[in-house]
Amino acid sequence: MALTEQLRQELDELVRNYPDKRAALIPFLHRCQEELGGWISPEVMEDCAEYFGLEPVEIYGVASFYPMFRLRPIGRHVVSVCRNISCDLRGADEIVQRACAVTSARVGESSDDGRFYLETVECQGACADAPMMVVDGTYHENLESDDVERILGGLE
């Protein structure tokens, strides 16, 4: 059983918001990822399948559609650098390069020391404050390339 009792109780609450409990799946997968090591393991998908009365493969089909869900273990800190047009025009490339250097990770991979997972992402809705990146869910905007080291350097 990968799901904790607390998560199951949360899920019992969450499904009350919807006429059909399956609707709670995506919000709940977020919670699983937050609480269970930053990714959604096959065991979590199997537990969810049982709860929702679905087959594990159906959970997998949904989870793999949404890039915010990680289906393999990744570094402790998730660094997502926007590469879309507004950020690209204001130097996203350089932010990506700096992030690679600071994290020692390649884009789409985790660093060998397990500290970071680095990815480029599409528009995050902070276009007027470009370039930007999201670190562990927190937005960092109007970045200069020196900001990258300042923001990431202190993370363990």
């Binding site: 006429p19 949404y66 276009c127 007027a128």
Partner: protein
């Protein structure tokens, strides 16, 4: 059109604007109370219709008309829903994020007025997963409102009940498409549904549903408070009201600015965004997000309203202007947005799944100096094969439109890349000492 009256962002400027206390101190929820007491649902819809409010999510469809598509509760007693589309993800668009974060109670008030007009049982606020702070702010506001008897059973002591639930997405542009959003909300892959059936007849869980954008609903309390005539006095005859114009790219002061519809893009650029940055000249711009296509600088005096922008062969979209200065490479820009549509295609329809990838590959090749003369016709043919109306939803169109526009307006630059076998502008930027 004075061009100076604002309302959308006024509340956001107040300290603690996201709290119920501050919102109520400035008359918050008074309009809801009056509407519930004095107006029938049909009268509310009529006022919204009369105001001429058009959806701010991209399509510009008249909001009151959309509401009127919901079946009459006297004829059809099914449960009815609204999905509030806060899955803002059109490149360049960053307006709803401000409203969600800074003025969530106004949004809730708008939802409840809409709920009264359409006799909804519940509103689901679908917030893109990345918007963590905005999500938390709206969730806190919903909790406050529920505790104050503003959301849930017997709102403000009336017989009207409506729930508001928060729902978090997980990173998919396509879930901003109304039927993709509904699929996603139901816990499925965000595959848009073929239409018909339309959401008003067969929406969430097969029930009548309307899907509205955040900024659209945000306008509703103002319209009900100040009247349709007040609203019509702002903006243009066919596109009334103010809108939030996200300005991004090569400008001095990127930002989200409140301006009346119909204000020329040049004025927004100059008066609000401080003009093109670094004293450079404008080369090209997207009028309303990347899906509206890349337009030449010569069109920058166009008024920002639906009809005027349509007149230059583009679309108003989300009203998010993205500006490119003279050093920018339109091929690079085309690649970046083609890559975006490739990443975001849900993959159902053959043309979109394969075509978005193909366009991205071709633009990347041309930018890398591996373009072929025949690629230009191929781009046109592919874009023609992808749109209009050839797929279940409009994402394929959204990828085709910028392709057509770059071939039409910037063919010479494409050819130059192909003939030189490299990006001429990248070389220039490097020479100027800018990052490559």
């Amino acid at each position: 059109m004075s061009g100076t009256e604002t309302y959308l962002l006024d509340g956001c400027a107040r300290a603690g604007s996201h709290t119920l206390d501050v919102y109520r101190k400035h008359g918050g929820y008074d309009t809801l109370a009056r509407v519930l007491k004095e107006l029938t649902p049909a009268e509310v819809t009529e006022i919204v219709k009369d105001s001429g409010l058009r959806g701010r999510g991209g399509a510009g469809f008249p909001t009151g008309l959309k509401w009127s598509f919901m079946p009459d509760p006297a004829q059809d007693d099914r449960t009815r829903y609204m999905a509030l589309n806060a899955d803002e993800s059109e490149p360049g668009t960053c307006k709803d994020r401000v409203l969600l974060r800074e003025d969530p109670h106004r949004l809730i008030e708008g939802c409840l007025i809409a709920a009264w007009a359409m006799q909804l049982s519940a509103v689901y606020i679908y917030v893109r997963g990345e918007y963590r702070l905005p999500y938390d702010r709206v969730q806190a506001a919903v909790n406050e409102a529920r505790a104050a008897g503003l959301v849930g059973a017997k709102i403000l002591g009336t017989d009207f009940s409506c729930e508001i639930f928060m729902h978090k997405g997980a990173g998919a542009y396509i879930c901003g498409e109304e039927t993709g959003l509904m699929e996603s909300l139901e816990g499925k892959r965000g595959h848009p549904r073929p239409k018909p059936p339309f959401p008003a007849g067969f929406g969430l869980w097969g029930q009548p549903t309307t899907v509205n954008n955040v900024e659209t609903i945000f306008n509703v309390p103002f319209i009900l408070e100040r009247g349709a005539d007040w609203f019509k006095n702002l903006g243009t005859e066919k596109s009334p009201g103010n809108f939030l114009c996200g300005v991004s790219g090569h400008v001095e002061r990127p930002g989200v600015y409140e301006v009346p519809l119909g204000m020329p893009a040049q004025r927004i650029l100059d008066e609000h965004a401080g003009g093109v940055w670094k004293g450079r000249a404008l080369k090209a711009w997207f009028p309303g997000g990347s899906s509206t296509g890349l337009m030449p600088a010569s069109t920058i005096d166009t008024p920002m309203d639906h009809d005027s922008i349509r007149g230059i062969g583009s679309m108003f979209g989300t009203g998010a202007m993205i500006l490119l200065d003279e050093t920018a490479c339109v091929v690079r820009a085309s690649f970046v947005i083609a890559r975006f549509y490739d990443h975001e295609s849900c993959g159902q329809c053959s043309q979109c799944r394969e075509g978005t990838q193909w366009l991205s590959q071709i633009f990347e090749r041309i930018e890398d100096g591996r373009g072929r003369p025949e690629d230009i016709d191929l781009l046109t043919d592919l874009a023609h094969g992808m749109a209009p109306g050839k797929t279940i939803c409009a994402l394929s169109d959204a990828a085709a439109i910028p392709t057509h526009s770059v071939v039409k307006h910037f063919r010479a630059e494409l050819l130059e890349h192909i003939e030189l076998g490299r990006c001429p502008l990248q070389a220039k930027r490097v020479a100027e000492g800018a990052p490559a």
